[in-house]
């Protein structure tokens, strides 16, 4: 049963400009196993993967393939040794066809050096069929494909090079549930064929469904390797964060007060149609819906980014019209956006400057910034929200996802919002920081802030919300109290079709 490892890494270390990214980590993959690699963001998973695929060379440690020591000078060497990687951000050429992408750089030739296109297409077809992907046209341009289909093309590309080891970096991060199931079937099938798979994911259910063994990294160090049968979820999580996590969704009980925000018949374009709801002080109102259902568009309309075309918004009983984010901010509405890197933060700028950005007037006397006060408030915020950083002058872009998100939240808390809209507050955030963000939400509602929380993660919506709004096709398809909320009920409302859509 336990075959000898095909690839093993021993004592791997790597530093970047003086910072140890990986210290003395060992890892191996056997043929025909799925070996899950777990760890919070910044734990060293990416560094380890990149050394295995020849992108980084280790400062110390050895790599052996089939028992023989090797050195990868480039990704080409690793690929020749049978190691292929499917990265999270897929590296395909959108303007080329599926077949052209699969054999790019390694096209079968006819005598005279001409590319044998019929061979390229036939072999691509065969590879895709092996992956049970009969519905994908080999002549389709990659830009017309869905994320799941592109991923399948990447896997086919890896197989075309006779990969013995396939590294998959968070393959399900951007897939919808049905595609996740299909991907898992593909992974199982590859395992049957003797391919060793390194599977990096944050999602526990997938790991328990797929993995044979699991290795946990923390802060660049090796924690443990276990057979999957020996561990449970709580144990893995505490290995990852280095301390026990009491509960996944610490729902704080806050006194729910008067209505703060009242929305009536709100409209904007196709994605916000006739929405009415209210939000009360100290309440967490969850917003559930499929991707493209209009959740984010609702937030953007409330925040003045895409002002409402009709309907009314009233704050604390006063009817307001919101036409710009600046105005929304002045009225006490804060928005922590979905796309942290593009919309939430100025990554090159220091933590201090990001924290003060939405309330810079409050940190100024006249036009001059009061640097001392700004620094003090940033220090307080970093301490209060437990942002892990070197100091407040550190550029936000250097922080991990969870800590970046805390800086965005800190920025908006400086405006003393009455209504805080959180759009995917824990997307791309590791387990430890996720629990901390949930705790912060609990503290905020206790102080009387009203929270509108948009999330794709159903357990999060069910776990954190006092009440849940469900949106489908831009319309409200359900309003469910915490007590009555079940995954089935919310799920039903999420997929509910609006018969009156055409009207």
């Amino acid at each position: 049963m336990t075959a000898a490892p095909y690839v093993s890494l021993t004592g791997m270390s790597k530093s970047f400009v003086g910072v140890k990214a990986l210290k003395d980590v060992s890892f191996d993959v056997r043929p025909g196993e799925v070996h899950a690699l777990l760890g919070e963001n910044g734990a060293g998973k990416s560094t380890l993967i990149k050394m295995m695929s020849g992108l980084y060379s280790p400062d110390a440690g050895t790599i052996t393939i089939d028992g023989k020591e090797v050195r990868f000078a480039s990704t080409r060497d690793a690929s020749a040794a049978g190691i292929a990687t499917v990265y999270q951000e897929l590296l395909l050429f959108p303007e080329l066809t599926v077949a052209e992408n699969v054999f790019l750089g390694n096209y079968p030739r006819r005598p005279g050096g001409w590319i044998d296109w019929s061979e390229v297409r036939a072999r691509t077809r065969a590879l895709l069929d092996q992956l049970d992907t009969f519905d994908l046209d080999v002549d389709a341009k990659v830009l017309t494909l869905s994320v799941a289909q592109r991923q399948r093309v990447e896997i086919a590309k890896a197989l075309s090079k006779d990969a013995r080891i396939l590294i998959m970096d968070e393959p399900t991060a951007s897939l919808v549930e049905s595609d996740v199931q299909r991907l898992m079937a593909v992974v199982r099938q590859l395992r049957e064929r003797g391919v060793g798979i390194v599977y990096v994911s944050h999602r526990m259910p997938e790991i328990f469904a797929l993995a044979d063994r699991v290795t946990v990294l923390r802060d660049g160090g090796y924690v443990a390797t276990r057979d999957i049968g020996e561990v449970d979820e709580a144990e893995l999580v505490s290995m990852m964060v280095g301390r026990p996590i009491d509960s996944l969704f610490p729902k704080a009980e806050a006194a729910i007060g008067d209505t703060v925000l009242e929305v009536k018949n709100l409209n904007h374009g196709r994605h916000v149609q006739d929405l009415s709801f209210s939000l009360r002080r100290g309440e967490i109102l969850g917003v559930a819906g499929l991707v493209g259902s209009g959740r984010t568009e609702l937030a953007l309309t409330l925040f003045g980014m895409t002002p409402a075309t009709s309907g009314s918004i009233s704050l604390e009983g006063r009817t307001v019209s919101i036409t710009s984010p600046r105005q929304a901010r002045d009225l006490g509405i804060a928005y922590v956006p979905e796309d942290r890197g593009q919309q939430g933060l100025v990554k090159q700028m220091a933590i201090r400057k990001n924290v003060s950005m939405a309330s810079i007037e409050r940190f100024s006397s006249g036009i001059f910034i009061k640097a001392g006060e700004e620094a003090q408030r940033a220090l307080d915020a970093v301490k209060r929200l437990r942002v892990r950083c070197r100091n407040i002058a550190q550029p936000v872009g250097e922080l991990s996802g969870g800590n970046q998100q805390k800086v965005v939240i800190a920025k908006w808390l400086e405006t003393n919002p009455k209504v805080l809209i959180l759009d995917e507050p824990t997307r791309g955030v590791d387990v430890g920081a996720k629990a901390e963000i949930h705790t912060i939400m609990g503290e905020l509602v206790k102080q009387g802030v009203a929270i509108l929380m948009i999330s794709s993660e159903l357990p999060e919506v069910l776990g954190m919300s006092d009440r849940i709004l469900v949106i489908s096709g831009g319309r409200l398809t359900g309003e469910i109290d915490r007590a009555d909320a079940t995954p089935e009920r919310v799920g039903m409302a999420m997929t509910a079709h609006q018969s009156g859509e055409a009207a």
Partner: protein, 314 residues
């Protein structure tokens, strides 16, 4: 402050300037004299004023190519308002500056209201404003300004050329604004990430509109100083000055992609270019050689700063 904070573009550039000054003073006796240096200061004021405003514009990730044309338009209008319309000269100059400022405002309006990329918008107005200047001038030049007017461009105050005082004041005020005020912070934020700035409730559009207007004002002011310095008005004044200003700004360490740059850097870049131009011509190097050398210095300075600089927004 640690030793690393000294390893920045401005420091490197200042050292380079010192080296250039030393080398050039060995090449010609006439270079390192008070009168020559002050005269060079006189010559670089117009580019300097434009470059200060350009630093702000480029730091937001924008660009203003129309400044040379605005300079020419202001120059011609000063003459026409005074000689043909018959306004008193101070009123004519102020009115011309107002028109130049308005031209900058129009740039800003095109860029913010109609979301035309700054490169295209100001390339169009470069042609538009120059055409306007030529149409108004009808190929005539205006001369014979009263003597008192030349104080601005040819006179001295406390032994220093008048316009150099204006440049110094503008540089000091601008560096304070960029470094210590929320306007300056907004400029850097927009240049680094315009979307996030908007999502943070910063007034992105208003700030840009103000900057292009200020750029028009700086070019207009430079236009009046130019007229006073050369005693005449022609419609082709300031042709190509936008490139000199952009060179000074970029040489000074402002990122052409925005988010980074200082007024001090721009001023050092300006001095370096002027020193090279003057010193080399005194040393007998031909004009083409000088331009080539400035191009080479620009590339070297950018390469060197890329080596040790990651973020220079203080």
């Amino acid at each position: 402050m640690n030793w690393k904070s000294l390893l920045r573009h401005e420091t490197f550039l200042a050292l380079l300037l010192v080296v250039v000054l030393i080398v050039l003073s060995f090449q010609s006796d006439r270079f390192f004299t008070v009168s020559n240096l002050l005269n060079q200061g006189r010559l670089m004021t117009e580019i300097g004023l434009i470059a200060i405003a350009m630093t702000f514009v480029i730091a937001t990730g924008g660009i203003d190519l129309s400044v040379g044309s605005i300079l020419g338009l202001t120059a011609i209008l000063t003459g026409v308002f005074w000689q043909n319309v018959g306004l008193p000269l101070p009123v004519a100059a102020v009115a011309a500056i107002a028109v130049g400022t308005f031209a900058g405002f129009v740039n800003g309006l095109i860029i913010t209201r109609f979301t035309v990329p700054p490169l295209i918008a100001t390339l169009a107005t470069l042609a538009l404003y120059r055409g306007l200047a030529e149409g108004i001038s009808q190929a005539r030049s205006v001369r014979g300004y009263p003597d008192w007017f030349y104080v601005l461009g040819q006179g001295e105050v406390l032994g220093v050329p008048t316009q150099l005082w204006i440049l110094a004041a503008a540089a000091i005020i601008a560096s304070i604004i960029l470094a210590y005020t929320r306007w300056g912070r907004t400029v850097y934020a927009i240049g680094s990430n315009e979307v996030a700035s908007r999502f943070s409730g910063l007034s992105v559009e208003k700030t840009k509109l103000a900057l292009y207007t200020a750029s028009g004002f700086a070019a207009a002011l430079a236009g009046v100083i130019f007229v006073s310095r050369v005693s005449t008005t022609r419609s082709d004044m300031g042709t190509g000055i936008e490139l000199d200003a952009i060179t000074a700004v970029v040489l000074g360490g402002t990122s052409i992609f925005g988010g980074r740059g200082t007024i001090a850097g721009t001023m050092i870049g300006l001095c370096l270019i002027q020193a090279l131009k003057n010193g080399l011509s005194l040393a007998g190097v031909k004009g083409d050689g000088t331009i080539m050398l400035i191009g080479a210095v620009l590339i070297l300075a950018i390469l060197a700063s890329n080596l040790f600089e990651r973020s220079g927004t203080r």
